[in-house]
């Protein structure tokens, strides 16, 4: 899959990023890692594992890192399909490959991973309930029906990579991407994916309190955008 680039936002993931890159490199050599101002050895680990290192001069948040990675990946020669992938090892490359195969058929612009169509290993019950509430909120505010609003695994074509501009810097970007799908009329589909919640990814993941921030930012974006 030489026409595929994976975009991986990296923030203090030195201990796991090497394995994640090695995993991705079994399907494509193009692994774009955006080091978002990590204070550990993430940058060195990225270079060692053979990923492209794109270095943010300051910490700007996951959404900003995704946008940077997409812009760099667009400049790589012959890239037609893009995948966003988390750095902490909670996604499976096999799931991404299935999504890319779907995309290759050409009748979709973007394929989104969903935890709730698939299997979720090791998530606490409270976390599940919160994620479901987030989905309801997202469906109401965006007008798009999805079963999972905050899944980092996505695959999309060049049209989306060239027209989508993520402005939300932090975790709110997941909601923003869904709004952009609605605004730009991308042809989308959700597929079940497996999320592996390890102790590591749980401690690194967003605190559930952050849901309030996301909700407020989403509403403010609706009010302030034209």
């Amino acid at each position: 899959m030489n026409d595929v680039a994976f975009v991986v936002p990296v923030y203090n993931e030195a201990s796991v990023i090497g394995d994640v890159i090695a995993d991705i490199r079994t399907v494509t050599p193009h692994v774009v890692c955006v080091n978002d101002g990590s204070r550990d050895g993430s940058a060195a680990a990225i270079v060692r594992a053979g990923g492209y290192l794109v270095d943010h001069p300051i910490n700007m948040g996951q959404g900003a890192a995704l946008q940077t990675g997409i812009e760099f990946a667009r400049a790589l020669p012959h890239i037609q399909r893009f995948v966003t992938f988390d750095a902490d090892g909670q996604h499976l490359v096999a799931d991404a490959v299935r999504m890319l195969d779907l995309l290759a058929r050409g009748d979709l612009d973007i394929v989104l991973g969903s935890r709730f169509l698939g299997e979720t290993i090791g998530a606490a019950r409270g976390k599940k309930a919160l994620l479901k509430a987030a989905v309801k909120f997202s469906n109401v505010t965006s007008g798009i029906r999805l079963t999972d609003a905050h899944n980092g695994l996505r695959a999309f074509n060049r049209h989306v990579a060239e027209t989508m501009e993520i402005t939300a810097p932090d975790m709110t970007h997941a909601s923003e991407i869904i709004e952009l799908i609605a605004a730009n009329d991308y042809r989308y589909r959700e597929v079940p994916v497996t999320i592996h919640y390890t102790d590591y990814s749980t401690s690194k993941g967003q605190a559930s309190v952050n849901a309030i921030n996301i909700a407020v930012d989403t509403l403010l974006r609706r009010v302030t955008r034209q």
């Binding site: 794109v54 001069p57 700007m60 900003a64 940077t68 400049a75």
Partner: protein, 126 residues
């Protein structure tokens, strides 16, 4: 004129002077300047003639002039907070665009990728 009036009006005039003289004042919209001038004028009147403020307060159904001034201040503060938040967001977005440009160009250089097409300014920039 009692001392407190002198001090308060002096403070308002100083604020007014600083705001108008500021070198970045031209980038602030005219309506915001007008609102600011109006607010300063109302405050000066309120300090000089508290009874007049009470008359106005009674006209709009508020018992005391001080209450009316308090309400106006609360509303102004609300505007200030929202305005400041939005301006902060704009600044942040500009900073991020700049930092992103640096990161991408630096990486393209490092991997010897021809980037003449990508170096064009984004069409979607506002």
């Amino acid at each position: 004129m009692i001392i407190v009036q002198f001090l308060l009006i002096g403070a308002f005039l100083f604020l007014f002077y600083v705001a108008i003289r500021s070198r970045t004042a031209h980038s602030v919209s005219a309506s915001k300047k007008l609102l600011f001038v109006l607010l300063m004028a109302v405050l000066v009147v309120a300090v000089l003639a508290p009874d007049l403020v009470t008359v106005v307060a009674n006209l709009v159904g508020v018992g005391r002039g001080t209450d009316l001034v308090l309400y106006l201040m609360a509303v102004s503060f609300g505007f200030y907070v929202v305005n400041d938040y939005l301006r902060g967001q704009d600044n942040r977005q500009q900073l991020h665009r700049l930092a992103r440009r640096i990161a991408v160009l630096e990486a393209l250089e490092r991997y010897h990728i021809d980037h003449r097409d990508e170096a064009d300014p984004e069409a979607s920039d506002d």
